[in-house]
Symmetry: C2
């Protein structure tokens, strides 16, 4: 817990002076005032976060954390549990959606086993930070111990700080874990108090009876474990997942190192919620990439107060929406740093 507290201590507010300077600079570029809308907002935010007037997003990193969930015993997913490990091999081989989209935006993917229920074949492209072989079934008791929850967050902080040595200018969150929309839904219900029915979606593709069962399993788990919303570690340990804890740690670490962090979809959103409940100041460091098709995601974004950049009906996870969001952030920074000014281009300003 000390490591978490030390990380939080280093999170300051974003720099308002630099944000104002950036606004003035944007207003001098050859375009009508504010005409690049949310790209301008994004550029300002990135300057405020990094404290740099000329940020450059060279090192783009997406962390894709994989873990298993004991609650899959309750039949909450359309896919078998084995898919988590299989997909990790796919990430390492470069064949998954996140590999394609990360390459598209020039980001590197850091694949991490933070709690897959099998021992995976060693691979130089795979980081192993296994907290345990999957969580326990939260419908029968806490998903993990309090100590494991803290360890998962620590692992995220460590992952970020180690990767920082290779350079990180912007980071995206990603995950893989059969059953993890169930955990994300339970976390969202705990923190926001929204009804489970409104939060819970079909995940990777449940049918109607499957969705009904998933809702009941979540309700049962909340009733049994009574996670305390005033204690984020308690919520994470009782109904969370190792990848969610790890991502919360990455988000906290990113904020403490003045790095913009692009939040992917629903599960990443649940991790963002955990981080936000631990330290509300992280909000200013978060960029919401997109609005997922999972209903609970919208509830999370509204609760934190984030407006998503994209609305493409994505629900894959892995960090795929985050990758596209990183692409937009890159575009925003290039607008700021590469466009001509009215003066340099000899263009007349507004009449009035």
């Amino acid at each position: 817990m000390e490591r978490i507290n030390n990380t939080i201590k280093n999170i300051s507010g974003v720099d308002p002076v630099i944000i104002n300077k950036t606004q003035a600079r944007l207003d001098n570029l050859t375009k009508p005032l504010g005409s690049l809308g949310r790209l301008e907002e994004l550029a300002k935010r990135i300057c405020g976060i990094t404290g740099k007037v000329n940020p450059s997003l060279v090192n783009k990193v997406i962390f894709t954390l994989a873990a298993d969930h004991g609650v899959t015993d309750e039949g909450v997913s359309a896919y078998p549990k084995e898919v988590t490990a299989q997909m990790v091999y796919n990430f390492v081989a470069g064949g998954a959606g996140i590999n394609v989209l990360a390459k598209h935006v020039g980001a590197r993917v850091v694949v991490v086993d933070i709690g897959v229920s099998a021992d995976l074949k060693p691979d130089p492209k795979l980081r192993v930070e296994k907290i345990n072989y999957g969580t326990k079934n939260m419908a029968k008791g806490p998903a993990m111990t309090r100590d494991e929850a803290i360890k998962a967050i620590h692992a995220g902080i460590d992952l970020f700080e180690e990767e920082l040595r290779r350079g990180i200018d912007i980071v995206g969150t990603g995950e893989m874990g059969i059953g993890n929309t169930t955990a994300a839904s339970a976390i969202t219900a705990s923190f926001t108090g929204s009804p489970v029915e409104k939060i819970t979606g079909r995940g990777a593709g449940l049918d109607d009876p499957g969705l009904k069962n998933k809702i009941e399993v979540i309700k049962k788990s909340l009733l049994l474990n009574k996670p305390d919303p005033a204690d984020p570690i308690d919520v994470l340990s009782k109904v969370g997942g190792f990848e969610i804890g790890g991502l919360a740690g990455i988000i906290l670490a990113a904020a403490s190192h003045k790095t913009p962090v692009v939040i992917d979809g629903f599960i990443s959103g649940a991790a963002a919620l955990v981080a936000f409940k631990i330290e509300p100041k992280v909000k200013d460091y978060m960029i919401a990439a997109h609005k997922s098709q999972e209903g609970g995601h919208k509830i999370i974004l509204e609760h934190i107060g984030l407006r998503p950049l994209l609305d493409l009906d994505l629900r894959l996870g892995e960090g795929t929406g985050g990758a596209l969001g990183i692409g937009l952030a890159d575009a925003a920074v290039k607008i700021l740093t590469q466009m001509a000014t009215f003066k340099s281009a000899n263009v007349s300003e507004k009449n009035i």
Copy 2:
């Protein structure tokens, strides 16, 4: 007109067999069915348009057409008319928003003077296809002759077909012209019948009295010229612009050459409306990049039946939103062609 008719004759429907094949292929990729949402839709559409099962968007081209508008005499813009020519030099020098965003997505920009009111310095990077030195003031009579309207569309077809020899896999529409949101608003009112007040926005940044004046000028122009919505050339000639006609030609030519065309914002939308009214089949070839902050743009998109990809409060034009849309189209095609299948990656499929 014959050239337009010949172009239209070559526009066929998109290929449903290839779209079905693409759907089957997408369903075999290592992701839950449909989980990449609109990216999957986009990939299917591009396959259907091009007739290729393995499209590759190597040659990305954005046409940025510049022209002046006589209606600026009525004080409808916050910027002086001279800015059109000044911005053309900025495009050629590479300092404008479109240059930065086109480079970001790997597109080349074709800058065209199709009706700027000044003689511009010759430059190898500038195409001159001037129909006239700006349109006439539509508040006093037709903006151009019927012959000029046809010539503008022809110029667009020629531009596309010449550039096609250098290779075009996807095309984006862009424009620059002080006063052209006034023309776009008048075109939108003519074709859709929506009230001018609802369609008309602040353009590059009008204040309240300026907006009121702009609405009155548009109403007056429509009353005076009586454009016939059943005759798209009539609408274009009476209340249009040369860049709008040129873009309509580019859109028709793109469809006739089985090339996806990414529509930028409001003015490009007005051009799309002209092309759509000339030949409704072009609809299937259009990809709406984003929803502009100009209210009339939403009306156009709904009228044609297009759902925009991005909602970033952009209102710059030039093709900037189109560039970002091209980036998403590229991502969609890469998903289709670069992801592993369940079989190749040894990943289990859905339980049910």
